[in-house]
């Protein structure tokens, strides 16, 4: 340690430590502000809070509209993430196993990332009106699969690189069909990557506002959209409490999944 990393008291080391700290502070400060604000006692958002209370959490959980939006967002996120991950796994498998055409195919699969989300929303608005699925849960799921699939695909493709083709071939030689090989060998090896892809997709879906602005119907208002519209009329810390709930939800999903599956470390077990 001491040999390779240099003197820990040197100005360079101290400077680097301070910089690292600042970057982390920069990244985490907004979250901290929201979390603190959620416990604000006052009627209006102000920082720092004058007094602490749980009243805005109570208000949030007591509000039927917020609750229905929360469930909708959760449902939507889980379904979209599951579909995206499944499709991403198939795409990842194909990309990892095909040679020359894979670069352009991959670009194609990641295409939704390159289009501004607002334009995707507008496009879906027009397309869904034509297909007659505007405002429906089906339409929302389709839209969310569209925007989350690139993330899931990307993660799975990276995970697939860790799978040696010969390992799958060994399974085939021992009597496994293609499907058995995928189920018994490929999926267990890439399950960390699959889980990471799933969580990425879930987070993207759960925090989307652009698609919701365009394709939500009166019966399908997602939580971010509900908060967005709420904030236009109301400046109470309820929004912060709702955000805090989201943050806690996402963090717990990541922690539980990480504990169960070992995120983004393809191939590692136990």
């Amino acid at each position: 340690m001491s040999g390779g990393t240099g003197n820990r008291r040197s100005p360079a080391w101290i400077g680097l430590s301070v910089l690292t700290g600042l970057v982390f502070a920069f990244l985490l400060a907004p979250i901290a502000v929201v979390l603190i604000e959620a416990f604000n006692d006052s009627e209006l958002m102000n920082f720092p809070p004058q007094g602490l209370s749980l009243r805005w959490f109570q208000a949030f959980f007591a509000n039927a509209e917020f609750m229905s939006s929360l469930w909708l967002s959760l449902k939507l996120g889980l379904i979209a993430a599951a579909i995206s991950t499944a499709l991403g796994a198939m795409a990842g498998l194909a990309l990892a196993r095909s040679g020359s055409s894979s670069a352009s195919l991959q670009t194609l699969l990641l295409a939704p990332l390159y289009v501004p989300r607002v334009l995707v929303g507008l496009a879906l608005l027009l397309a869904f009106a034509w297909l007659n699925v505007s405002g429906s849960l089906l339409g929302m799921i389709l839209g969310h699969v569209l925007i989350t699939m690139p993330y899931a695909t990307r993660t799975v493709v990276v995970g697939m690189r860790a799978v040696e083709p010969s390992v799958e071939e060994a399974a085939r030689m021992l009597g496994a069909t293609r499907w058995q090989t995928f189920r018994l060998v490929t999926v267990p090896i890439i399950r960390g990557a699959l889980m990471s892809g799933f969580i990425f997709a879930l987070i993207i879906s759960f925090s989307d506002i652009y698609l919701a602005l365009f394709i939500s119907g009166p019966q399908s208002i997602t939580l971010p959209l509900r908060l967005f519209t709420f904030m236009e009329w109301d400046q109470s810390p309820l929004v912060a409490a709702a955000s805090a709930v989201q943050i806690v939800l996402i963090l717990s999903v990541i922690l539980v999944a990480g504990r169960l599956f070992g995120l983004s470390s393809p191939g590692s077990v136990e």
Binding site: S166, A171, L174, G175, Q180, P188, V269
Partner: protein, 365 residues
């Protein structure tokens, strides 16, 4: 056991395998030997079923295999990179094939234990493959392949990732195990020493085709093509032509050598060369004017000598009877402690038996 009948494989415009015909007998150990890109691995993958031949027929155990998928061929394969399942324990790796065949639990237990025992890994079943050395991992792979009683054991350069000492040790173990089980084996390697040490027969491959098939001894002592002669061991390859009788070889510089029979006149083959192994060249003591028996007598001047331990490689510039300088011939001088070796500039007389002068030809691609 295995019959390849004019098997060909074309990738786009490239013929990776060209009309390969080969029969592997029950319990036989056959190596496919050649440099990278010679088609040996593709041939093995055709037998395994990972590639389908674009022409020809493949039969295993008398059964037509062209359209049988990999998992129903009943073969096993050992890979160069071990290809163990990283998410399973050593025991589960070996049990994988048996579980797929729905073998009863106690029998799996029993057979896996026996297989691990056979490869010298008794008691390591609970380990993860990652905790094992390369040699141990390849043993697991071997046990995993053997435990299912395959019709044929296929091996694709299984020792190439191991260091020399271990390679030789595992080589002998695989051979012993294969013999004691009477297992039919096809082994792919680019290492001639490995192929010589392990095989009942060797198929030397080059440019997608088989150059020669034979026992290690055949291949070494009776090479039939220029490639085989040069790829396996060291060999002098003199340019020249055969006369009409097929018994006399003439080099461009006028060296005449009587040769082993067996090849038709040069007009019917590609370019002919004369293969002479350095160790078949004998140094004659001073005073010999004639070679013993029917052997060829060669006079020359030592140009260079390289000490190699058991022998010294002596390069001799041949001199024709007219005193002209001709081709160079490498000869192996057996080192005897305390005795002097030839030195550069010495004039030496050499003899080579007619049977050791082997005309070989370029196999036209």
């Amino acid at each position: 056991m295995i019959e390849l009948d004019a098997i060909g494989k074309r990738f786009g415009t490239v013929d990776a395998v060209k009309s390969v015909s080969l029969t592997v007998g029950e319990g036989e150990f056959v190596s496919l030997l050649g440099p990278s890109g010679c088609g040996k691995t593709t041939t093995l993958r055709i037998i395994a079923g990972f590639e389908s031949p674009t022409s020809g027929r493949l039969r295993i155990g008398g059964r037509e295999m062209n359209d049988v998928p990999v998992e129903r061929r009943g073969l096993s394969m050992v890979f160069q990179n071990y290809a163990l399942f990283p998410h399973l324990s050593v025991f589960e790796n070996v049990a994988f094939g048996l579980r797929l065949k729905r073998v009863a639990k106690p029998e799996i237990e029993e057979r896996v234990r026996k297989a691990l025992d056979q490869v010298g890994l008794a008691g390591l079943g609970e380990r993860s493959p990652r905790q094992l050395s390369g040699g141990q991992q390849q043993r697991v792979s071997l046990a995993r392949g053997l435990v299912v009683n395959p019709a044929v054991l296929l091996m694709d350069e299984p020792l190439s990732n191991l260091d020399l000492k271990l390679r030789e040790q595992l080589r002998d173990e695989i051979r012993t195990l294969q013999r004691s089980l009477g297992m039919t084996a096809v082994y792919v390697t680019h290492d001639q020493g490995e192929a010589m040490a392990m095989s009942d027969r060797i198929a030397v491959m080059h440019g997608g085709g088989i150059e020669q098939v034979g026992t290690p001894r055949d291949i070494y002592e009776r090479p039939s093509t220029t490639f085989v002669a040069s790829f396996i061991g060291h060999c002098n390859l003199l340019p020249g032509t055969l006369d009409a009788s097929g018994r006399l070889f003439r080099t461009p510089n006028g060296v005449h050598l009587r040769v082993a029979s067996g090849l038709p006149p040069s007009s019917e083959r590609g370019e002919i060369r004369l293969a002479i192994r350095p160790e078949t060249v004998r140094f004659l003591a001073d005073g010999y004017e004639r070679a013993p028996g029917d052997d060829n007598l060669i006079s020359g001047r030592v140009r260079d000598i390289v000490y190699l331990g058991d022998v010294a490689q002596v390069s001799v510039v041949i001199m024709t009877e007219g005193g002209r300088v001709a081709e160079t011939l490498n000869a192996a001088w057996r080192i005897v402690r305390g005795e002097a070796t030839p030195t550069p500039g010495d004039v030496v007389r050499l003899s080579v038996a007619t049977a050791d002068c082997i005309p070989v030809f370029d196999r036209g691609a």
